[in-house]
């Protein structure tokens, strides 16, 4: 982009790429069909928010914004809207884009004007990744859509308009894409296009043309025919002139844009030395880094250049060749995608074909040597050092024809070496890094700071934010750049002038000061004051402070927060420190700007919050101190090892690197070739995130085990055991006599995993036992973790070494009994107090040693399978759930495939057993084939038989014996579980789920019903209850919740249960056991409280109870097995509603906020919701009383 300096009166805004795209898309469309998928969800959210606020588009109407059931649905709706004559758009990424492909072929085939805005994201292959690359966009190459790339936030806004103007004129539909996260989530100060700009660029005549082509019964036409071999081919070729004309149209639009707005673009933009010999060709955000590097190298006198591809499809050979400097000798084409098996990645192939053709046609006189490289998959960092490495490679006499850059590939040996210290950072640009916790508001404060700098100064400003993969206790790193020069640095900061550490614990976990440049400023939030702090620092921190001569400041932000009523939110305080020390603005001006911004942010939420924040700002400066430190390292405090020495090799070598934040350094050879990872790894990642942990009072305890049941993280455990195991008991280990007849003489212990507990407090809330002399105490009570950590760690280790009870001796169909089963789902990164994981854990306890799990994409797949570690674990015999995630939309089918596969292999195993009967022995054969495996004992016995069988098979020298050996494990009953959230079950996967429950196959479906798409940030699903505020339902959901359970019941052959553990935990346990026992499809809909409900998570189980008692979520079990016995299969397990619906609803922010934003609507929706609840109760009561047996 060449910036023509014009005096512009346009508004400068500091926004991210998604908002920039949504801004233009909203202004220029009438029908918007959306569906959430990271990292594009925010575009739909902006559109929905604006529509809810009544914001109008360019033509004065509020666009219609509608959420669909999947991206396929959104594309279908857009297709229909276009056919009916509206201007229509959608936003998506990754798998969502793949689901749109069929409609994209149609839309393009029908030459229909539209722009899809895509925040490009990796397509799931060996693993899912939410991060950015071009694999999704590249998968649409053959659809006929034009592909237009934006490299920066400013370009996103510009290209969104250019794409819209171009599609209207060319009739070729456009896919406008920019890099997921790096651009979609990067906050940048940009110039906002005005309505006048948009009006100048968009021709009303072309819109009228678009409408004239629409379907209308007033002038009917037929579109969407089926064609035969006689004409299909010719008709397909008929569109050619439009594709031929398209590039020139786009260039014309770009030229007009330059006249109107001032920024000049070309289809292929060349930047660099006009006589460059070595050039890089690429597109996307990486091109900005390459731009910065080329600029730097040019200044050093290097003849290098960069060709930025903007219009990738239709690929204009003419424009490409015109843009290429004649001097070029060698070219490296960089692709941000991988196409295994291809002769090269797509952009490379296009370039090489174009060059060869041009050379053959005599348009160029020599053929530059061209090599191909991959970079940046899944948002892998792409830095100036890597760009330089590519140029260095080009200079070699024999450069690698195929290479990767940014990783160490020691398997294929095709990676380029680069010097990580090479830097092109502009000296005038201030670079600041902030380490914080998600919960402390660090990111929010930094987003705020960027806006302040963007809006209150003439500086350019950029903010980018990195999150870890945990939903509780997650670490965030903010990267802020600002200064007088334009910022092209689309990579993380590694040369920081300012580093802030908002949490003391990070000093022991990460090398916080690694990226500090000499003389940088270091700000630490510390409970130790300026005179004490030095001696408390770890040795490496002291070393770096001294060696780099850092300016060192401390503040006790939590103390200031407490004093000023800010609770745990230190955001405003740390932000004030940053402004006070960094000098980006004069102090007074900075304080005023912060206060203005506080008013803007919190003003609508009430004056009290504003005042509290003001107070925090004022208190900060008085509590911020510079630390004078000695010139010698005095500390003997070392950073503890990342994982225990006892961990397996893989965990120590690979997983620990990821945990420590050094995953980028892991070479290819250390990683699995097919995405297969060991389980039981979460136990090695000791996160220590709880401020308080539960402490057991064995004297008050009534041994009900409810605390163990509800623990979302399996961090509170129970064992009953022979007293002999108490030999060498640690001094503070607690135990008492077991109460109950079944394990007479045994001891009983409730033990907390101090380093894995998240401190949610659910266990304390459900504990029914109160201390008789002081009722505020229960049988478990929260106490500060740090003083307990060491002793409880020893106790927990001792506890784990006590053997589990024999599963055959446990009454598993009781709450108490079920909790003696070892959880095989432990220490997940789910939200503290998660409402889903107690159910998931229960599955792992009851059936984990024989379960195969298909897990839909969503929260459960993230806390279940997001690296570095997995909570899925194994028992003492090494058995445990085998888990996999296929996609979001196909989970029921994925699980059914597993069932079909297991059934087939079981059948084959049985056939082989029969075939080898004489060798195996009749008795064993008979027992193997007719084993009853309906309880733990039955399964135990069958396992023993299979072991015996295997031993025999080793001695039989027949090919069938070898086959049977591989299949024999299938003779033991396997439990197939299909787990996912309501977004999957009610919406995107409903078709598949419906088919699977209709199939009669023995699968168990667990729907974790949070009533929103929790994982993508709380968008409405069809499980959302009427009146709830959710994203895409900012005005409260207008329609009733779909009754998935009732729909399933209509088959008559599906076991269906609705459960809510917080209301009736016994019913939950029984439902799980009945569902699994039922020889057919089972569907359990589990009410799961969620952080997206806006509740106190500690009270999650109370919310569940009230949900049931208000009739909001009545629970029941429908067991077709009872019908077979002549009984009514429908058993209503909840009592007639006694809590007022209103009281329950308004105890949750998702409902209450509507009474604050749209009180009249809230009233109407409440009345309708009351009717829903009443009618639901009548229906269920009728079913319960009906003589259905």
């Amino acid at each position: 982009m060449e910036n023509i300096k014009t005096k512009s009166n346009r508004k400068m805004v500091t926004i991210d790429g998604n908002e920039a795209a949504a801004y233009v898309a909203y202004k220029l469309n009438e029908v918007i069909a959306i569906y959430p998928i990271t990292p594009s969800s925010n575009m739909g959210e902006w559109a929905d928010d604006w529509a809810a606020q009544g914001k109008k588009n360019l033509w004065g109407t509020v666009p219609s914004v509608t959420e669909m059931q999947s991206e396929g649905g959104a594309a279908g709706a857009v297709h229909g809207a276009l056919q009916a004559g509206a201007l229509s758009t959608t936003f998506t990424a990754s798998q969502g884009l793949l689901l749109m492909i069929p409609n994209m072929f149609k839309i393009a085939g029908e030459l229909t004007s539209t722009v899809f805005h895509v925040s490009a994201r990796a397509v799931a292959t060996h693993a899912l990744s939410i991060f950015g690359d071009h694999s999704d966009v590249m998968a649409t190459r053959s659809t006929g859509f034009a592909l237009l790339s934006s490299n920066s936030v400013q370009e996103v806004m510009d290209m969104a308009l250019i794409a819209q103007a171009s599609t209207l004129e060319s009739r070729v539909p456009f896919l406008h894409f920019f890099d997921g996260f790096r651009t979609s989530h990067e906050v940048m100060k940009i110039e906002q296009l005005s309505d006048d700009d948009l009006r100048s660029m968009i021709s009303d005549e072309l819109i009228i043309e678009h409408r004239k082509r629409a379907l209308s019964p007033d002038r009917p036409v037929l579109r969407g025919t089926a064609q035969n071999p006689d004409v299909f081919f010719q008709a397909r070729e008929a569109c050619n002139p439009y594709y031929k004309a398209c590039p020139d149209i786009v260039q014309k639009v770009m030229d007009k844009f330059a006249t109107v707005v001032g920024r000049k673009y070309k289809l292929f933009d060349y930047f660099g030395d006009p006589d460059a010999e070595y050039i890089i060709i690429m597109m996307g955000s990486g091109a900005e880094t390459a731009h910065e590097t080329v600029e730097y190298l040019n200044k050093q006198g290097e003849k290098v250049g960069l060709l930025k591809v903007r219009l990738y499809r239709p690929f204009s050979a003419k424009h490409f060749i015109q843009s290429l400097p004649k001097s070029v000798k060698k070219i490296a084409v960089l692709d941000r995608t991988k196409e295994p098996g291809a002769n090269g990645e797509p952009l490379y192939l296009d370039v090489i074909t174009t060059l060869a053709e041009a050379y053959n046609n005599g348009e160029i006189s020599n053929l530059p040597k061209t090599i191909s490289g991959r970079y940046g998959l899944s948002s892998k960092e792409f830095t100036p050092a890597m760009v330089k490495a590519v140029f260095d490679e080009l200079r070699k006499e024999k450069p690698k024809a195929r290479f990767v850059v940014g990783i160490k590939d020691d398997v294929s040996n095709n990676s380029l070496e680069y010097d990580p210290n090479f830097s092109t950072e502009n000296e005038n640009t201030i670079r600041a890094m902030f380490y914080g916790l998600g919960a402390d508001g660090t990111v929010g404060a930094n987003k705020n700071s960027i806006k302040i700098i963007g809006e209150d100064t003439d500086y350019y400003a950029q903010g980018y934010f990195v999150y870890d993969s945990k939903k509780s206790g997650s670490t965030t790193t903010s990267h802020l750049r600002f200064g007088p020069s334009p910022i092209h640095s689309t990579y993380l900061i590694t040369k920081a002038n300012f580093i802030a550490c908002h949490q003391w614990v990070f000093l022991e976990k990460y090398d916080i000061l690694k990226y500090a440049v000499p003389g940088a400023t270091f700000l630490l939030n510390s409970i130790y004051n300026k005179d004490e702090v030095w001696d408390k620092l770890p040795r490496v921190v002291q070393e770096q402070i001294i060696n780099k001569k850092l300016k060192f400041y401390v503040i006790d932000a939590y103390e200031v927060a407490n004093k000023t009523g800010m609770g745990g939110r230190i955001n405003t305080i740390m932000q004030t420190c940053f402004f006070a020390i960094s000098g980006v603005l004069p102090r007074d001006q900075a304080i005023e700007a912060i206060k203005n911004s506080i008013k803007k942010t919190y003003g609508k939420k009430g004056d009290q919050i504003v005042q509290k924040n003001f107070e925090a700002v004022d208190q900060t400066l008085a509590n911020l101190f510079e630390v004078k430190y000695p010139d010698k390292v005095t500390s003997k405090i070392e950073m503890p090892p990342v994982v225990s020495d006892k961990a397996p090799e893989f965990i120590k070598e690979v997983t620990a690197m990821m945990i420590a934040g050094n995953g980028d350094d892991i070479p290819v050879s250390k990683l699995p070739v097919d995405g297969t990872f060991p389980v039981a790894s979460a136990q090695w990642e000791k996160r220590n995130i709880a401020l308080e942990i539960p402490v057991w009072d064995e004297k008050t305890c009534i041994q009900c085990n409810k605390c163990v049941l509800v623990c979302p993280h399996a961090a509170i455990r129970v064992k009953a055991y022979d007293p002999k195991y108490l030999e060498n008991v640690p001094p503070t280990f607690k135990y008492t006599d077991y109460k109950g007849s079944e394990y007479k003489g045994y001891k009983y212990t409730i033990q907390v995993a101090p380093e894995d507990c998240t401190g949610c407090g659910l266990c304390v809330e459900v504990c029914p036992a109160k201390n008789k002399t002081e009722v505020k105490l229960k049988a478990i009570n929260m106490m500060p973790q740090p003083p307990l950590r060491e002793s409880e760690r020893i106790n927990y280790e001792f506890f784990l070494n006590i053997p589990d009870l024999d599963r055959r001796q446990i009454k598993i169909d009781t709450v108490k009994g079920s909790q003696f089963l070892r959880p095989l789902f432990e220490y997940s990164g789910a939200c503290s107090g998660c409402g889903e994981t107690p159910y998931v854990k229960l599955v792992s306890q009851l059936f984990g040693d024989r379960a195969v799990i298909a897990n839909a994409t969503g929260c459960s797949s993230i806390y279940g399978g997001n690296l570095p570690t997995t909570p899925w674990a194994v028992d003492a015999n090494g058995r445990g759930p085998a888990w996999s995630n296929s996609l979001f939309e196909d989970n029921a089918e994925f699980g059914m495939g597993m069932r079909l596969s297991i059934d087939k292999q079981t059948q084959m195993a049985k056939e082989l057993v029969k075939e080898l009967a004489s060798e195996i022995g009749e008795k064993l054969v008979d027992e193997l084939l007719n084993a009853k495996q309906d309880d733990e004992a039955g399964i135990y016995d069958q396992r023993a038989r299979v072991e015996e069988l295997k031993k025999k098979l080793e001695t039989i020298n027949k090919p069938q014996a070898k086959n049977l050996l591989a299949l024999a494990d299938n003779l033991v009953k396997k439990s197939v579980w299909i787990i996912g959230g309501d977004g999957w079950a009610y919406d995107i996967g409903y078709g598949g789920l419906d088919h699977v429950i209709a199939s009669g196959k023995n699968v168990n479906i667990l729907v974790l019903d949070t009533e929103v798409y929790s994982n993508t940030g709380g968008q409405m699903s069809k499980a959302t209850f009427r009146g709830a505020v959710a994203k895409f339902a900012a005005g409260g959901k207008p329609t009733a919740k779909k009754d998935l359970a009732a729909l399933a019941i209509t088959y008559g052959t599906v076991y269906v249960a609705k459960v809510a553990m917080g209301y009736n935990d016994l019913q939950t346990v029984k439902a799980f056991i009945e569902a699994e026992a039922y020889d057919g499809p089972s569907l359990i809909i589990a009410y799961s409280h969620c952080i997206a409900h806006g509740i106190n998570m500690e009270k999650g189980m109370v919310q569940q109870k009230n949900a049931v008692e208000s009739g909001y979520f009545p629970i029941f079990r429908y067991n077709p097995a009872l019908a077979a016995q002549g009984q009514n299969p429908f058993k209503l397990d909840s009592k007639e509603p006694k809590v007022k619906l209103e009281d329950f609803l308004y105890s949750e922010t998702r409902y209450k906020m509507l009474t604050k934003s749209k009180p009249e609507d809230a009233k109407v929706l409440l009345e309708l919701a009351e009717k829903d609840v009443k009618n639901k109760w009548i229906l269920y009561e009728t079913l319960a009383k009906a003589n259905m047996g």
Partner: protein
């Protein structure tokens, strides 16, 4: 019959005023109250805690868990405007003022001189004819003296007087060691009226859950005795209006309170129990009683049995207790 009276400088058509309570939350009920004869309406109280808490709560839950995980950086849409409790309250006053012809008295309830007092200004701007300041406060700090407590009341009242121009009535509890002195301090500090008395909800214990629970009970006619005594004592000694509240159920209750010097008699529990239209039967009863007993105006009756107007002023003081005992014998 002339039922007119003057309260806080407002001319009222009769002395029956619904006191601060839930009936004023609905415009429909306010209309019924007006139709049933209410001469003014005191709005339900806007609580200081509510102002602070509601905003803080909303902010807490809307931002809880945000900016932690890349896929779910927020959990809620962000409407441009929130109508928080205070805003709703002010809007309601505005609406009520537009719909009824009787004076509307706003009510605020709090214990500090903080920023929440600014809402009084908004209440005034919304059209309220007067303001009732309800200081609902249980001093439990062992270091706090009775003077400290009284001073706090005075400070709040003084601060409020600086902010608004409409008349202010102070609603009090009876728990002061020297009530008469304190009442006079309030009047000196600018109180235009005293509303006697506030009722504290007393907590109770649930023996099953072993939890302390709030216990809300309706008042009973018996409770008029306390305001009856104090208004009788203070009437004519303090230059301010008096409103009697607590336990007014019957026309006779109201008449007694008027006779000791109340300018208005406020009702809450009786209207909640019997519905807003019940007010009319009380008014009719007063009218009937006055007619039967040959009174011609409320003015005539007002204060006729206050301490200064009766033969035995000590009847309202400690001797009353002794006499009652004797009579019981």
């Amino acid at each position: 019959m002339d039922l007119t009276t003057k309260y806080l400088g407002l001319d009222l058509k009769n002395p029956i005023v619904p006191s601060a309570g839930p009936l004023s939350k609905s415009l429909d009920n306010v209309r019924i109250l007006e139709d049933s004869g209410a001469s003014a309406i005191v709005m339900f109280s806007l609580f200081e805690e509510q102002i602070a808490h509601e905003a803080a709560e909303l902010e807490h839950y809307l931002s809880y868990g945000t900016e932690s995980y890349a896929e779910s950086l927020t959990y809620f849409p962000s409407p441009s405007e929130y109508n928080l409790g205070p805003d709703e309250y002010i809007e309601l006053i505005h609406k009520i003022k537009q719909s009824v012809n009787i004076p509307v008295i706003g009510s605020i309830n709090g214990i500090t001189t903080g920023g929440w007092l600014e809402y009084a200004k908004k209440i005034e701007q919304a059209g309220a004819d007067a303001l009732e300041l309800n200081i609902y406060y249980i001093p439990t700090d062992l270091k706090l003296t009775s003077l400290d407590v009284e001073n706090r009341y005075i400070e709040i009242l003084s601060a409020l007087k600086q902010i608004i121009r409409i008349p202010i009535a102070v609603k009090l509890s009876p728990y002061f060691s020297s009530f008469a002195n304190f009442a006079s301090r309030l009047v000196n500090a600018g109180a235009d009226g005293l509303v006697l008395f506030n009722r504290f909800y007393q907590p109770d214990i649930n023996l099953e859950s072993l939890e302390v629970e709030p216990n809300i009970t309706f008042s009973s006619s018996n409770e008029i005795k306390l305001p009856l005594r104090w208004i009788a004592i203070l009437y004519s000694r303090l230059k301010c209006s008096f409103a009697a509240t607590s336990g007014v159920y019957t026309p006779e209750d109201a008449i007694k309170l008027l006779m000791v010097g109340s300018d208005v008699v406020m009702m809450c529990s009786a209207l909640l129990k019997n519905g807003p239209r019940y007010l009319k039967s009380v008014l009719d009863g007063i009218d009937k009683w006055m007619f039967e007993h040959e009174y011609t105006s409320v003015q005539q009756m007002k204060g006729s049995m206050s301490q200064k107007s009766i033969l035995d002023p000590a009847a309202f003081e400690r001797a009353n207790y002794m006499k009652a005992l004797n009579r019981f014998k």
